[in-house]
Structures are given as C-alpha cells and as structure tokens.
Symmetry: C3
Subunit: 207 residues, 3 copies
C-alpha cells in the first residue's frame, strides 16, 4: 500500500485528475455553445485551447509511463485510461466544431438535455479520479453505477432525438447536419462509459 | 492437453459457446424483423432481452478471467474473443433498433440477403466455439475460410445495396435511414470476421 | 545491436518497407481516380489488386511474428504497426470504391488537395520504415513532426470541404455521397498519423 504514496505514483494520479478536470471545462464550453446568443466563434476558439491543454496532459501521462520504472498499475491500463479520457475531449471538441462549421440555425432543445448528461458524466468522472489512489471499491462502484445510469439516459435521449429528426419536420440537409452533432454527443457519453469500464478493470485487478 | 479438461477451462468454453448461441438467436430475430407483417415493437423488445442476456454472458466471461488463475489461453485473447462476440450482438441489436425507430416503410429486398449471410455467420460461429477446446486446426480453418467467403459475399451485397440506394429512386431522407441500417448489417458481418481472426490468432499460438 | 542484423529481423524491416511502398502505390491510384477523364473501372480494379497485395504483406508479417522466436521489437507493436499500415490501404481502397460506386459526376477540386496530402504522407512513411532498423531518433522525429503537420493541414482541408458541402450549393443526395468520400480520405490521413504514433511508441521503448 505504501507504494501508492511515492512521488512518482502521485504524479500519475494527479495527471488523471487534471485530465478529468479538462473534461469538466469542455462540457461547460459545449453547454455554452448551445446557449442562445452565444458567440460561437469565441466558444469554439476556447474549446480548441481546452482540447490542446487536454492533449498536453495526455502526452504527459504517456511520457511518464515510458520513463517510469514502477507504475501504480499496469502500463496498458494507464494507456487505456489516458487515451479514454482524451477520446471524450476529442468528441466534445468535434461536437463544438460541427455546430460552428455547419452554421446550424435552430438546435433542437433535446440537445441541451444530452449536454446536461455530459456535464454530469464529467463531474462524477472528475470526482472519481482521486479515488483511484485509495482504490476504495465501494466509492468507485457508485461511480460505475451512476455512469451506467447516465449512459442509459443518454441512449433514450439519443433515440428520441433521432426519431424526431426523421419525423419529417426537418429537411434532409438539416437532418444530415444535426445527425452528425447528436451522434458525436452520444459517442462522447459512450466514451465516458468506456473510461468507467477501464477504471472497473483496474479496480478488479487491484482488489 | 489434459489441462484443457479441468472444470475451470470447461466453463470458459461453455461460456463462449453460450455467447455464440445468443448470436444465432439475435440473427433469427433480425430476420423476423424484416418479415412482412412483423410486429416490430414486439421483435425489438425480444431483441433487447436477447442483447441483455448476451451482455450477462460477456460479463460472466470477464469475471471468470479476473478470478481464475489459470486460463485455457491468454487473458487478452479471452477478452478479445468475448468482446468480439459481444460486438456482433450490439450491432444486430442496433440494426433492429434503427428499423423500429426510423419507421422505414419499405425495406429493399436485398436487406434479407444480407441478414441471411448474418444467420449463416452465426451458425458456423456457434459450431466453431466447441472446437476451441480440442483446437483442431483443420476444423477451425474450415470455419475461417467460410467466414471469409461470407464476408466477401456480404461486401458484394453491401456495394449493390449502396449503389441502388443512390440510384435516384429513393428520396434523400429515405437514403439516410436505409444507409444507417445497411451499414450496421455490414458492420455486423465484419464483426463476425473479426471474431474469426481472433480465433485464428489463438489457434496459431496454441499450435 | 548486432541482433538487429540477423536475417529474421531483416525480414521484418523489409516487410514493413514493402507494406509502406504499397501505400505509395495506393495513394497514386487514388490521385489517378480523381483525374479528369479517368477510366474509373480500370483504376478501381488496379486498386483492388494493390489492396490484395498489401493484404498479403500484412499476413506475411503476422505469420512471421507467430513463427519467430526473437522479434526486433515487441510482438504487440509489430501487430499494431502492420495493422496500422493495412488500415491506411483499406481506407484508400474504400475511397476509390465510393467514387466508382456512387457515380459522382463532379468532384469538388478540394478533394485533390486532400489526396495530395495523402501522397505526401505515404512518401514520408515509406521513407521512415527503413530507419526503424537503426532507430535513429533524430531522423524518426522529423517524420513524426511532418506527419503531424500534414494531419493538421488535412484537418483544415476537411473542415473547409464540409463547410462547402453544406453551403447549400449541393443537393442532399450529392452531399451524402461526397461526405462518405471526404470522410474516408480524412480517416486515411488519421490512419497515417496513427502509424506514426506507433513508430514513436516503439522508438521510445527502444531508446
């Protein structure tokens, strides 16, 4: 157990916590992007900066894995966790990009519900990262259960949005644009679930 | 060789066989979904149940890997095989979902040919799983060759369906819907091929 | 160091070089496909042959990994590199297929810029493969930096093409077709980047 408190390990946990904190910021920017009257150019620029900062953290983790002899858990799990967190950021950045690029005039209100789910996912993921250190199974399993609940909710939203897109009230070109956006949002939620699965794998091995 | 017949190993082979059997059921439900006059709501509900049952089996395999000291082959190969089989089920479930959700009135007859390929893939995959135990190369290579033949056939169907979708006889919105469905069917066949590749990898290592 | 010059290792490096050379050929065929007055059927047929040849090389690498006791670097890295190179070829083949299949009449000129980026990626990847043998970090890092620059450029092109597709000057059905093509081209560039990342991982481990 003492192993876990050596400086080198601390830095891994700190980096994962930082990585998840970037996601909280990214989800907030996504919400801002959907708000009425948003300066989309400006939000997209800040999202790009946030994505670069997240990239830096990911590279920091990869560098640390490659230069550290003893890691707090398996190297491949560290890679998986780091790249899983990075995938979420990339997808949120992509959603913001699509909204800007496609110049979508009217965004269906259901999109905000989906972004709200993403914000909750980001919050509980950020809260879970520091618990990796103590690996308290009870606390981590609350996190998996909650992510799973949110993923099911997001799936229901996604299906309702798709049905509405194809209901005939949108033109084909508009459907094409909106479908890219909502699919990316759903993939971001899935990516959060995939992070939770990696954490579960790690916890099972450690227990 | 005697190793392979210990109870713990038997349970892995049984679980893989069960997992593949779920796919036979899933492919049958997909065929039912396409049949004229099908009660789509009802088929979709049964598909959802089948997908949950398949999930249970997958989790059973993952739990078994994590709690077993000696596994019949490499842990990462067991993960790959379990999640490969699970991917097929998810894709077949997704295809059924799209058909229900998009309320597609007319399904091009070529879709049935593709689902027929999926049923054949499921049948020979289910027949191959028990052979993992004896790892008879000759029997398994028949399976790979057949899956490869089916994947090539599915690819030809897929290209013909796409060409027909874009021939001008479908409206853009209809194309969008049908494209999601046929793409998912093709991905399901690809996922079967990926399972066969994993089996091949395992067999090569064991030989 | 002497290890690296044994025949068995040489064959790995030769196979990787061959694999990358297939990509140079594939990118050239893609450029030919876009040229005005191209015999698309004929180019597509040659692309199919090139893709099969690349497949052969990939299988050769996999067979070599499975039958060789000592490999020049980790088996999983060899797999990752071989399948990464193979992914690029598959995507270029898919782009050619879509162009033929969809019978797209007018291809936006920006597509050629994107294919030009792919040709540059193929050239420098082919030039980098022989350097894997000496693993000279300085030479390889030039390659990563250049691939990264090209990937950023491709991303800018991609976004400009998407914005133009959705500008209103294309019909929905035409947008659907072109979107498949441009997305595949962008994925091919991403696949080149992923190859470069694998090479970087290998180099870091070896250093």
């Amino acid at each position: 157990m003492a192993f876990r408190f050596r400086p080198v390990d601390a830095s891994f946990f700190d980096l994962f916590a930082t990585s998840a904190t970037h996601l909280v910021g990214g989800a907030a920017l996504l919400a801002e992007m959907l708000a009425e009257g948003a300066d989309r150019e400006d939000v997209a620029r800040r999202m790009r900066d946030a994505e670069h900062a997240a990239d830096e953290t990911t590279h920091g983790i990869i560098r640390a894995v490659n230069s550290t002899f003893v890691t707090p858990f398996d190297r491949e799990d560290i890679y998986a966790l780091a790249s899983g967190l990075d995938d979420v950021m990339d997808l949120m950045d992509e959603a913001v990009d699509f909204i800007l690029l496609y110049e979508v005039k009217v965004l269906p209100p259901e999109l905000s519900e989906q972004v709200d789910v993403l914000q909750q996912c980001a919050d509980i993921t950020a809260a879970a990262m520091p618990k990796l250190r103590s690996m308290k199974d009870s606390e981590l399993s609350e996190y998996w259960i909650e992510i799973n609940r949110l993923e099911n909710l997001a799936d229901k939203h996604h299906r309702r949005i798709l049905a509405s897109l194809f209901s005939g009230s949108f033109k084909a070109l508009e459907v094409l644009k909106l479908k890219d956006i909502v699919t990316t949002l759903e993939q971001a939620v899935d990516a959060f679930e995939s992070v939770a699965n990696t954490v579960e794998q790690i916890a099972v091995k450690e227990s």
